[in-house]
């Protein structure tokens, strides 16, 4: 994994609350057996017409969204199904982080394992971001701070071990495997 220390990008806003993983990537696309290419189907039912052409009014189809790496949404992002295809699709599309007041547990875990940052902020900050799409943000994972162009800087929390792994480009799997002797001892003690 590449180390992840900083994300500097404009934001894209999808103000809906409770955006479930069926919206992020509908189940009919889960028949894939790889991780690649899912960005094409990100938010498919919000993004495309029946004939597959883009819906002009949907934010991801607008020119100002192009290249943006930070998604801002209403509360409880990523609820529902445990499908890791959700962060895979977001990453494949080009997003690196989501900001909301609340992010669902399983999505959070899946996101962090793929180098996608789930950032929870207070209601006031989120409301400001929701009302200012296209804001240039600087996310500093090392300092756990979010810098707004207004000069305001907001701290956020992130699970310390995931942060350590992301900053150093480490895979959590490597750490888990390093505890195999403990796992074997645990099994032996139980049997």
């Amino acid at each position: 994994m590449q180390p992840l220390k900083r994300i500097t990008s404009r934001t894209v806003v999808i103000a809906s609350t409770d955006i479930d993983t069926d919206q992020i990537i509908p189940a009919r696309f889960l028949t894939t057996t790889t991780k690649e290419g899912l960005g094409q189907q990100l938010f498919a039912d919000w993004r495309y017409q029946e004939d597959g052409t883009p819906k002009r009014e949907f934010v991801l189809n607008r020119p100002e969204a192009r290249g943006a790496q930070i998604l801002v949404t209403g509360r409880n992002f990523g609820c529902g199904s445990s499908r890791e295809h959700a962060p895979w699709a977001l990453l494949d599309y080009g997003f690196r982080a989501v900001i909301s007041t609340e992010i669902a547990d399983i999505f959070c875990g899946n996101a962090l394992k793929n180098g996608f940052l789930p950032i929870v902020v207070d209601e006031e900050t989120c409301q400001w971001l929701l009302h200012h799409p296209g804001t240039e943000l600087d996310i500093d994972l090392e300092a756990m701070r979010l810098a707004l162009p207004t000069g305001v800087s907001i701290s956020f929390a992130i699970e310390p071990f995931a942060r350590h792994c992301l900053l150093n480009g480490l895979d959590e799997f490597g750490y888990l495997r390093s505890r195999l002797a403990d796992i074997e001892r645990f099994e032996a003690a139980r049997s």
Binding site: Q23, K35, S81, E84, D105, L176
Partner: protein, 466 residues
């Protein structure tokens, strides 16, 4: 010793390495359930590292999500209609063979929805940790297991190590008191709870359902309740094991036998919350006031008693968007609204008792003209039981479409879908936009309400047909 909750006890019994401020706990996994949709990339990861599945004896695979439910496709007289699904099914077969995992394949008499077959076989047991790449793994918590959904990367972690890195969630007591009224089911109860605490009310928590109402529930009802814990955002839902649990498990094929049973039962009895144990939070639910419930919006928290009107929240953009999708308006009554499709099945309500409840209403009645009633048993065993006990005949005589087991119309990825704009009264667990098919409009209900609505051809109160 400090008083501990059921969750505390199961958690600490599986802590290989305790958590520290810098590192999560290493949590041991007793049972890893596997299905075809969320595992291909995990097997690829094992191959890339040249690793085996470390404990195939603690791993069980089935196929349910992308599998067809039409007999001809299941038993091979015609090919599986959805090409990509067929590919996924074949890949599961290859991976299971290569890694030595027991797989209940397409033709296996024990195949079924992953959360139905674990309990059915007696593999789901009190005090266990159970994981699966599926959020409805919370179902198994009905036995006093700590059971939760994981992502595909974590599926790979469990394959390779039989453990997971986890931070300990908080605990939330859901205290439920009072009897359920006639015509009110466990499904109505959990929908009412989600309506009360909200779709993120359980985020970061493991729920323990407690109280006199819970003690009086049968195992299939407890499974329905725990199944939808994730719909409140919870990491898991648990119910302490008791005589009901032990009676259910006693004759199951993979439950312990003889002396092993005695020892197991004695141990299982310790998995209860101590009298003075503290929860991080609690909520009280009055079961007596719960009515048959129905969702009107695009998440399970948008729910009302069946006789009620849709709330009116003029100016709330998110709320309005949900109603627009559903083709509803604030203030409208739910009763009498038209129905196109009725789906009875899923890991929430696809057990034999759910089918019996539906049959009680469908017996001697007909599905209303123009309504497609699809009834999908949760497992092949349930299918055989329903056929042997005459339920299937009742369904067919009523005009229902009776299928092979699978997740089917709960999620539109196996060929069973609801068309855009159509109303589906469904016993499944999610009414998200497009969940049952692009543009499909889902209304979540109990099997009783589903059957009553199929007969009436519109949303109906089951109490009128009991």
């Amino acid at each position: 010793m400090t008083a501990r909750t059921l969750f505390d006890k199961v958690w600490s019994a599986h802590e290989v390495v305790a958590e520290t401020p810098d590192t999560p706990a290493v949590l041991y996994v007793d049972l890893h359930l596997v299905h075809e949709v969320t595992t291909p990339q995990a097997f690829s990861m094992l191959k890339a590292h040249g690793l085996p599945v470390r404990r195939p004896d603690r791993t069980l695979a089935t196929m349910d999500h992308s599998t067809p439910t039409q007999s001809a496709q299941v038993f091979g007289s015609v090919p599986i209609k959805v090409d990509a699904a067929a590919k996924q099914v074949r890949q599961m077969e290859r991976n299971a063979a290569e890694f030595g995992i027991e797989l209940f394949g397409m033709h296996d008499a024990r195949r079924g929805i992953v959360h139905i077959i674990g309990p059915e076989l007696g593999m789901t047991q009190p005090g266990m940790t159970i994981v699966c790449g599926d959020s409805h793994t919370s179902t198994h918590g009905a036995f006093g297991a700590l059971a939760f959904g994981i992502g595909t990367t974590e599926v790979g972690h469990v394959f390779a190590t039989q453990a997971l890195l986890q931070r300990k969630p908080k605990s939330l007591a859901v205290n439920i008191e009072g009897p359920l009224q006639p015509g009110v089911t466990a499904k109505d109860l959990i929908l009412a709870i989600i309506g009360q605490i909200g779709v993120s009310g359980g985020t970061g928590h493991v729920l323990e359902y407690r109280g006199s109402t819970v003690r009086a529930l049968s195992m299939h009802e407890r499974m329905t309740v725990c199944n939808m814990s994730i719909e409140a955002g919870a990491r898991a839902g648990m119910i302490a094991p008791d005589e009901v649990t032990f009676d259910y498990l006693r004759d199951k094929p993979r439950a312990p036998r003889g002396q092993d049973w005695e020892a197991a039962e004695a141990r299982w009895r310790t998995f209860v919350t101590d009298p003075r144990a503290q929860f991080d939070a609690s909520v009280d639910v009055d079961a007596e006031r719960v009515e048959p419930m129905i969702t009107y919006g695009t998440n399970p928290g948008m729910v009302v008693p069946i006789g009620a009107a849709i709330p009116d929240k003029k100016g709330d953009e998110v709320f309005d968007k949900a109603l627009r999708y559903m083709g509803f308006h604030g203030g409208e009554a739910m009763l009498g609204k038209p129905v196109n499709v009725v789906f009875i099945g899923s890991c929430t309500n696809g057990r034999l008792e759910d089918l019996q409840a539906a049959a009680g209403i469908l017996k001697g009645r007909k599905v209303a003209p123009g309504v497609h009633l699809l009834i999908v048993p949760g497992s092949q065993q349930i299918k055989r039981q329903a056929e042997a006990s005459g339920l299937a005949e009742i369904f067919k005589a009523a005009g229902a479409d009776w299928r092979e087991s699978g997740c089917s119309m709960c999620l539109g990825m196996n060929g069973d879908t609801v068309a855009a704009g159509q109303y589906s009264v469904s016993t499944s667990n999610r009414n998200f936009e497009g969940r049952q098919g692009k543009g499909a409009r889902t209304l979540l209900v109990s099997p009783l309400t589903a059957a009553a609505s199929a007969v009436k051809g519109s949303i109906a109160d089951p109490r009128e047909l009991l």
